[in-house]
């Protein structure tokens, strides 16, 4: 299946080469997210839990941005990469939760 399927994909693939604009936008977005995160910490006097929340949120958004634009996950034919990463994240989440709650109880 694999080979003939991709052959047809080859024909329907877009011919235009994409420009750099999208990536520069992604870059600026990443910069902004990073700066917000650092600023939140540098500001210092915000409530700790709220800072944590901002930090995690910024990180997650940033990861989505990078995965989608730079690692081409939003493009067609990336079903298996997406599954791989999600599965990995799933295992990791289980472990982080454990680390937080059950290692020191």
């Amino acid at each position: 299946m694999a080979s003939n399927h991709s052959a047809s994909e080859e024909q329907t693939r877009r011919h235009k080469v994409e420009g750099p604009q999208k990536h520069i936008v992604a870059f600026v977005l990443s910069l902004a997210l990073t700066i917000i995160a650092f600023a939140a910490v540098a500001a210092g006097d915000i409530n700790t839990n709220f800072t944590y929340f901002i930090l995690v949120l910024m990180a997650i958004i940033q990861v989505f941005v990078q995965l989608a634009f730079w690692m081409h996950m939003k493009d067609r034919g990336h079903l298996f990469p997406i599954i791989c990463i999600i599965a990995g994240v799933f295992v990791v989440c289980a472990m982080i939760i454990t680390a937080l709650f059950w290692v020191w109880w």
Partner: protein, 598 residues
Amino acid sequence: MDWLTTVDHKKIGILYLLAGFIFFLVGGLEAILIRIQLMKPMNDFVAADTFNELITMHGTTMIFLAAMPMLFALMNAVIPLQIGARDVAFPFLNALGFWTFFFGGLLLNISWFAGQVPDAGWTSYVPLAGPTYNGTHGVDYYVIGLQIAGIGTLLGGINFMATIINMRAPGMSFMRMPMFTWAIFITSVLIVFAFPVLTVGLVALMFDRLFQANFFEVGGGGNTVLWEHVFWVFGHPEVYILILPAFGVISEVVATFSRKRLFGYSSMVFALVLIAFLGFMVWAHHMFTTGLGPVANALFSIGTMLIAVPTGVKIFNWLFTLWGGSIRFTTANLFAIGFIPTFVLGGVTGVMLASAPADYQYHDSYFVVAHFHYVIVGGLILGIFAGLHYWWPKMFGRMLNEGLGKLTFWTFFIGFHLTFFVQHFLGLLGMPRRVWTYLPNQGFDTLNLISSIGAFLMGIGTIVFVLNVIITWAKPRNAAADAWEDGRSLEWTIPSPPPEYNFKQTPLVRGIDAWWKEKTEGNTAMTPAEPLGPIHMPSPSILPFIMSVGLFIAGFGFMYAHHWLAAGGILVTFVCMFFRSVYDDHGFHIDPEEEVQA
């Protein structure tokens, strides 16, 4: 020399089988020594510390160096054939995977000769395995040996995942794949997501032991429960890594020898996926007595029990595959049919263990030993034997002797139940596991004796199998392509053993059980999906071997703090990687038409 450089999946499969089986004999010998020591109370056949070394090496060897490689042997021998491919996705990595496993296993077992043997159990719980309480190099062998072998396993997992996704013959959609291929696919997924956890755990333990890090050192702020979590987050998926391929084998064998298609194919697939998914969320059932608290224990209890449901689906689907079939009792099928009830016995004791409050009594007693040998020996090992007898003609072109095969089955099977059935009771009567001896008059004596006798029977069964192999070797290579006549999947359409390139022309798959479908429609061959032409093959390479030797040397360097040696070993490996990257492997071409004339 040919064998050192081969990148052919069929040959690598045979290498895996050979190495894995030798390690099985070593692990079995260790088991026999364990059973001799436990034959009677207060026995002094081996010393206490030797006994701990024996169980540790027995468990580690059997799981990582015997069972997994033998499964890899079947995967390598069969998967590309079943999906109609010429080879795996990464033949070079395949060879590398074998050699790293081999040298990792070698390093682990050299500990016997170094006189410093791992002795903290196959689970290597800290602090017993940590530097404070384990000053010799024993556990270093465990840590580094497994690390190197683990690289091989991970590579194998990635390789087979990619192979099954990308290399299927035209027409073979996911839902037309043979069940063994499905099982290996899911197994590979488990490997890919479980082994890195072990890698990190071993790195942390290694840093603790070699560089005075404090991951698990209580005095340095470390945490011993963290190791338990890390080990079991890997460890529980690992047991499904072991059993799922066996499930796959049983699905193939049972269907073939009852001349029926597999009952409930899609629910079988779904069950596999569900087992794998749940398998990642139940690890703490090994830690019910660690003291995680009632919430964790309750959640993990329920999660664990749920696995019984998809597993049960598989069991009943096999039974109903047999139902209404025309069952032929070949050796392979005997092993498969022996598997079903035996595995159920082991599985249901697993569900008993899953009930946390009752597990407070079972945990670390012989009841657990009985449980896991039922699922492992009664499940996985019987499954491997079934697979070996079934695919032997395909791998080697010779049929194993059926008479001897049946003798193997009965001695091994009866010996097995003798050995491990009584161990349930030993555990309930209060016998902890990992004890090098026990006092008389505790109600353990007779049961232990029975158990040891059973182990000898299993030993005999194994020896009969070895004899069978040797005798078969002397026979001519005359197995038919469709050796069992009732073959259903693509591997039975090509000669036994297959030519180097497997398929002269990639076949076109027109349905589930591709070969069976053609046969029932009166065809004698698969429809080709491509014109006959020269076939591209990857060239053999010695680099995988050298890279593994490099890691092997580096392992010793780290262990004995010879940093130049460690650096040298790593350098060898990197230089090989460099060559691999710089010199393109253009491979060579075989022209099948010329072959025919030659």
